[in-house]
């Protein structure tokens, strides 16, 4: 695969993830008990033999820089080829944020031209899936296609989230319909494309902004050979709270459709060195993923604990995703919630109580409680779901020790108190 370069689009700020993406790119979002979302795409590249990768970053790029670094984890720290993070940049004649997916690539045309690959594999860093890109590239080659787009079947009630792709019987693309409420075709555009380099480079000279609207649609309209390749495995775009939560909890199903325990296709991540999980005599754990560095003294059910989480005695964690180094103190209860890093849930506090569906404008919370980084739920505090507590939330955010259903508490700046 030396003639293929991968570009991983990781610029998205994930507005629909609220507080979870306040200080990080969606691609850098912790996932599955120890990973970051981008690990899936990078591991797929690594296992598919793709040795040259550009990661296009824009929103909160530090989170990605830290994580991807020189690419050691994926054996992409190479002298020739390897991984490069491509951020928006200034030159004497040019300065500009990435205005869209195609614009991001266009702004890095120099980088592409230097490498001169025969094909460009465009990926999204916001997707969770295990895919062998070699099959896609092979299909592309065999058809002599200009572009091949990977597609996945989605349920009829989900078509509004995707670009739906209509093809002829040979798999050649006839139309791409962006986020329709109803669709005759079940095939969704995964945002995974193989381009013939020359075809892509030619299109980029027209200053496109969006890859679908300004590149793919014109190519289809012009009669270029744009084909689909159907992917049948588990695939999820984790750009919304609901899909992020659902994809995480898929992992603790009895027979998960997304397998992490497959030694032939391990998901590689930048691992911190942490001791094994310590489970005390009072702990009860079932149907869960627990990462190294955790200490469990309470009850954990149907949940995912990232490294360094501490669940104290008599605390209960159910249907929750708990990110690194969060502490759940004695007797606290957490249910249907996503807790970010370094959160402290005080003694006897309850996060995620009640059954109120919340106001329609908070439907994006999917009935969950989100708790931002560094937030502190005071002892005995109660948070009803759905609700969102901002980064650094603390005691003053609780009225009578309570956060009512439907509340969204904004982020606090960490230096607010310093005068």
């Amino acid at each position: 695969m030396r003639n293929v370069m991968a570009l991983v689009l990781s610029g998205g700020g994930g507005e629909r993830l609220g507080v979870l993406s306040a200080e990080r790119a969606v691609s850098a979002l912790p996932f599955g008990g120890k990973y970051r979302v981008i690990d899936f795409s990078l591991s797929n590249c690594c296992h598919s033999g793709i040795e040259r990768v550009g990661v296009l970053a824009q929103h909160a790029p530090a989170s990605l820089n830290d994580h991807v670094g020189a690419g050691r984890t994926w054996d992409l720290d190479r002298r020739v080829r390897g991984v490069v993070i491509l951020q928006p940049f200034q030159t004497r004649s040019h300065a500009g944020w990435y205005r869209g997916t195609a614009d991001a690539i266009t702004q890095n045309l120099n980088f592409l031209e230097e490498a001169r690959p025969e094909r460009v594999l465009v990926l999204s860093g916001d997707h969770v899936y295990r895919m062998d890109y070699r099959a896609l590239i092979l299909a592309h080659e065999q058809r002599g296609a200009s572009v091949t787009m990977a597609v996945a079947r989605v349920p009829a009630d989900q078509t509004h989230r995707f670009g739906m792709v209509t093809t002829d019987r040979t798999g050649r693309v006839r139309a791409i319909d962006e986020k329709p409420d109803r669709s005759v075709t079940p095939l969704a555009n995964m945002g995974v494309y193989v381009f013939e380099y020359d075809v892509l480079a030619e299109m980029l000279r027209t200053h496109p902004v969006d890859l679908v609207l300004d590149v793919l649609r014109p190519l289809v309209a012009a009669g270029e050979r744009v084909y689909t390749h159907e992917f049948n495995g588990f695939w999820e775009d984790v750009g919304t709270v609901a899909s992020y939560y659902r994809a995480n909890l898929e992992l603790v199903q009895p027979q998960p459709r997304l397998q992490l325990h497959d030694a032939r296709w391990p998901i590689l991540t930048r691992d911190e060195e942490r001791p094994p999980v310590i489970v005390s005599g009072t702990a009860e754990i079932e149907d869960s993923l627990i990462a190294n560095g955790c200490r469990v003294e309470g009850r954990v059910r149907h949940s995912i604990l990232f490294p360094g989480v501490h669940v104290a005695r008599d605390a209960e964690v159910t249907d929750a995703v708990v990110m690194p180094d969060t502490r759940i103190e004695a007797g606290a209860r957490v249910e249907r919630a996503v807790l970010d890093k370094y959160v402290r849930v005080g003694e006897g506090a309850v996060v995620g109580e009640g059954t109120d569906p919340g106001p329609p404008e908070l439907a994006w919370l999917a009935g969950l409680v989100l708790v931002g980084k560094d937030a502190w739920i005071p002892p005995g505090g109660r948070v009803e779901r759905p609700a969102s507590i901002g980064v650094g939330g603390r005691y003053e955010d609780f009225r009578d020790g309570r956060v009512a259903s439907g509340t969204v508490i904004p982020n606090r700046l960490w230096f607010e108190e310093i005068r």
Binding site: G32, G33, K34, T73, V252, P254, L260, H261, P266, I267, L268, T269, D271, E273, R274, P275, P276, V277, I278, V279, S280, G281, A283, E284, I285, E286, D287, S288, L289, I290, A291, N292, G293, R295, V300, I304, L305, F306, G308
Partner: protein
Amino acid sequence: MNAATYAFILAGGVGSRLCLLSEKRAKPAVPFGGKYRIIDFTLSNCVNSGIYDIGVLTQYRPTSLNQHIGIGRPWDLDRTRGGIQLLQPAPGAFTSDWYSGTADAIYQNLVHLKRRRVDEVLILSGDHIYKMDYNVLYAFHRANRALMTVAVTEVPEKDVSQFGILETEPNGRVTAFKEKPRSPVGSRLASMGVYLFDRDALIRLLVEDAAIADSRHDFGKDILPRMIARNEGVYAYHFPEYWQDVGTLDSYYECSLAFLSSQPPLDLHDPSWIIHTQSADRPPVRVEHGARIEHSMVANGCRVAGQVVNSVLFPGVDVASGAVVRDSIVMHDTIVGPRAVLDRAIVDKEVEIGAGAKLGHGEERAPNRACPEHLSSGLVIVGKRARIPGGITIGANARIGASVSEKDFSAPVPSGGVVDGPDAMH
């Protein structure tokens, strides 16, 4: 650490009292603490103390150690300057032979000191479990203008006979040294096998020792007594914290399980003193429906559907539904089949335990037939890649050799029994 430093780590030990665990690997490479190897503690102490230039002396079964250390990535020892070097005995060199003792091992590698502008040389053992900031040792050594400083730890009276015991003046100056004294000597300060030498004194002493025909070329037996006899400046630094030699199966077992207590002997979670190790990327522990885990240490990559009580599971262990792992230590990628029961078992890597097999079964406590001196406290030990047939019972103090297969078992294995496979211990 400001001045240049260099450390040798002695990692050639045979560790014969660890029985099967060190049959195929050097003692420093024996897995410990749910994911580490014994040598990780010493290596991490070095880098956490700012020592980034290290030579590791290997001799016995170095393969697993070589694989483990590699170019030293996990310890940030893959460096442009300094780093880590594995020093194996090599024929044809200026002195060319197997290492005959600890002092000889360093003597044969003196060439590595030639271009290093260091005033002192740190000599460590790769066999011990402890967290120590060597900067404190350097400061003590320099303050005393010592030629050699030995780190010592207080051991119980009953264990005195297993260590090199030092007697000191109140200021720490060493006045006497007895290697493994049979009767009490009035001191309980045991050498930790951690020596800091003045570089030139070390070279002089080693050259001198190499020429002495009846020397055993050992730091404890030869160099140290000679220095004390000549009243050369030998000082003892009393290390006040936890230090453990896991040299026997019993001490290995007890020390391992001590890490399960709510007050473990060492804090492995301390972000300012991380114990680094080479670890494969494994997914988080998967705890399935109906599983029960209590008072245990379980590493990434494990899947638990059965019961795990008071035990240590290394990465990738699979405990099937209905199985019970009690008071046991189970190493990497071992499979515990459905309804199998383990009591007080130490199971090496990649073992397959068939459905319903019972290890450590029954009350009988006959010492092991082959190694009664090492295996008599009721443990069961299973060597690497053994395959244990389903339904079989194995009594306490039994030893199941590495790579045995189902056909090596003809009947239940009684207490103290031995099953040897294709490459049995000699």
